[in-house]
């Protein structure tokens, strides 16, 4: 069953990399001409096209590109002629740190809030949790970002209003520069997680087996945390997989807003400069990350849900 899921991933990876590859080949304009500029001669264009392998049949280009990618070679930047892999390597850690903090932040706040909402169902705590969750979902990340800058950075001077401080220059400074961006990025996932946790827990807490556990003398704490949460984690994990996509997409906007030199910002720069090889590479990285995130959550789901495992023990 796990093998089947892994096997399904391959065609998806192939399909998505085909689409990503096609970006470059389908955009209007001749890449060679745009590199050389408007004064290029006919021969120069032909020469550059041959260099770039653009005169080969499409499928051959795809194969050689894919081969390069698997070897870690994303080709060269049209504009700077740098190896794209180097550019990616420089920017990736920043995006990983940002997305990682946002993800952990969302988990650490949303799940407990959801549990509280379910346990105190109907009370004021529950209403607060639901209201906060709806707001988190409805406030776009960059809107929160701007409001955050206006208040925490400009008015209160707690954090810088933009820019990234690497860890080498001080952990505290590093975290301060990522604080508002990470919170902004975590809002979408957090809101959805809080709601799913709450409703999953409500379902579980109302179930026959929880009632039986109560009748067997287990205390509320043990029931909620050890017992019920385990059952509720199944839908929670499913939702996390879907929402990771929003965090990945969100890095594009948040990095731009806060001038963080990560992959997201690179996508925007590459798009605006028509630097399609770079764009391709970045999008491929994000898509592969998303595919693997979903793979992990699917596998986790199988682990958590005994019904999906191979029938063995009986």
């Amino acid at each position: 069953m796990i093998l089947r899921r892994l096997a399904l991933t391959v065609p998806i990876l192939l399909g998505t990399s085909t689409i990503v590859f096609l970006i470059l080949r389908l955009v209007p304009g001749d890449p060679a001409a745009s590199i050389l500029g408007s004064n290029a001669t006919e021969e120069a264009i032909i020469r550059v096209r041959a260099e770039l392998g653009l005169d080969q049949p499409l499928w051959q280009q795809f194969v050689s590109w894919l081969g390069g990618v698997l070897r870690g070679d994303f080709g060269r930047d049209y504009i700077t002629n740098q190896a794209i892999t180097e550019e990616l390597a420089a920017r990736l850690p920043i995006t990983i740190e940002l997305a990682g903090i946002a993800f952990l932040l969302a988990l650490a706040t949303a799940i407990p809030l959801g549990v509280v909402g379910a346990v105190r169902n109907g009370g004021w705590a529950d209403r607060v949790v639901r209201a906060v969750a709806v707001l988190s979902i409805a406030v776009p990340d960059f809107v929160f970002g701007i409001l955050g800058i206006l208040s925490f950075a400009l008015a209160l001077s707690l954090v810088p209003s933009s820019g990234y401080t690497p860890i080498e220059d001080g952990l505290l400074e590093n975290l301060r520069s990522l604080a508002i961006p990470a919170i902004a990025l975590s809002l979408g996932l957090g809101g959805v997680l809080a709601r799913v946790t709450r409703s999953a827990m409500l379902d579980v807490l109302g179930s026959d087996y929880v009632r039986f556990a109560k009748a067997s003398g287990f205390g509320t704490g043990a029931i909620v945390f050890r017992y019920a949460l385990r059952n509720a984690s199944i839908p929670i994990v499913t939702v996390i997989g879907l929402q990771v996509g929003y965090i990945l997409g969100g890095t594009v906007v948040v990095e731009q807003l806060f001038s963080l030199p990560g992959l997201g910002q690179l996508i925007v720069e590459a798009m605006l400069a028509r630097n399609y090889p770079v764009l391709q590479a970045c999008i491929l990285v994000f898509v592969v990350a998303f595919i693997f995130a979903n793979l992990i959550t699917d596998l986790l789901y199988a682990v958590l849900n005994p019904r999906l495992r191979k029938v063995g023990a009986a």
């Binding site: 087996y209 039986f212 109560k214 009748a215 019904r307």
Partner: protein
Amino acid sequence: MTDLLKVQALSVRYAGALRPSIADVSFSLAAGEVVGVVGESGSGKTTLGLALLGLLPQGTKVHGSALFERAEILGVSERELRPLRGTLLSTIVQNPATALNPSFSVGSQIVALLRRHRTLSKSGARSLAIEWLDRVGISEPEKRMGSYSHQLSGGMNQRVVIAMALALSPRLVIADEPTSALDVTVQAAILRLITELIDDSGSSMVLITHDLGVVAQMCSRVIVMKDGAVVEAGEVDQIFHAPRSDYTQHLLASQPSHSAPAKPMPTVSASEAAVAKSTEEHGHG
């Protein structure tokens, strides 16, 4: 003889309901007695069971008193009830498959129960659990410890629930329709198992059921309920042979296989029992 359980003037009204589900019900139960509570759907018998176990939803209005070993168990906090639950007071449910957590193996649930109420090491609790699985008639008990409820048949799940209900030698077991959700071939075996274990441990039981046949087989006294009230109560023989209330007579008449309740229950021969048991164990996953 002091009563193990003494219920007086119990009334239960669910939140938002117009009439009470149970009104002014009184009965008592001595140690070692099995009392049946019989009625049709809507008679309030299940509500009675839930009330005694303290499992009514929040907001339900409960009046009256239920003294268990002379301590009040109605309207008390969860914390006060907890020492009783599972140990002195336990329950066998109607739907065993949903009573067991689908995410945990049945073995781990029994072990958790044992360790909650007794100081036992993990291995000690595990061997005790295996012993009990054996005692309730589950073959290859050690293998079954790792099974999940969806891998076991209804009958086997019920045996697990029975094990959990009786492993801690409760004084009182509240059994709510323990066989209604099971295959007919398996019902007799389960009832026999319950009777045997109850006799062995000397526990009392409140057996809630709609089936007078079950009552005849297992109970010494019967309470007949209709629309939330006790219509008749008495010894089993008296109820079956000389029912006083019209309703009881009506109930007796409408039971298909009990037109002559004085006859002994049809018994299941040993080979039929073996076939039934084997269907039970291999019928599922």
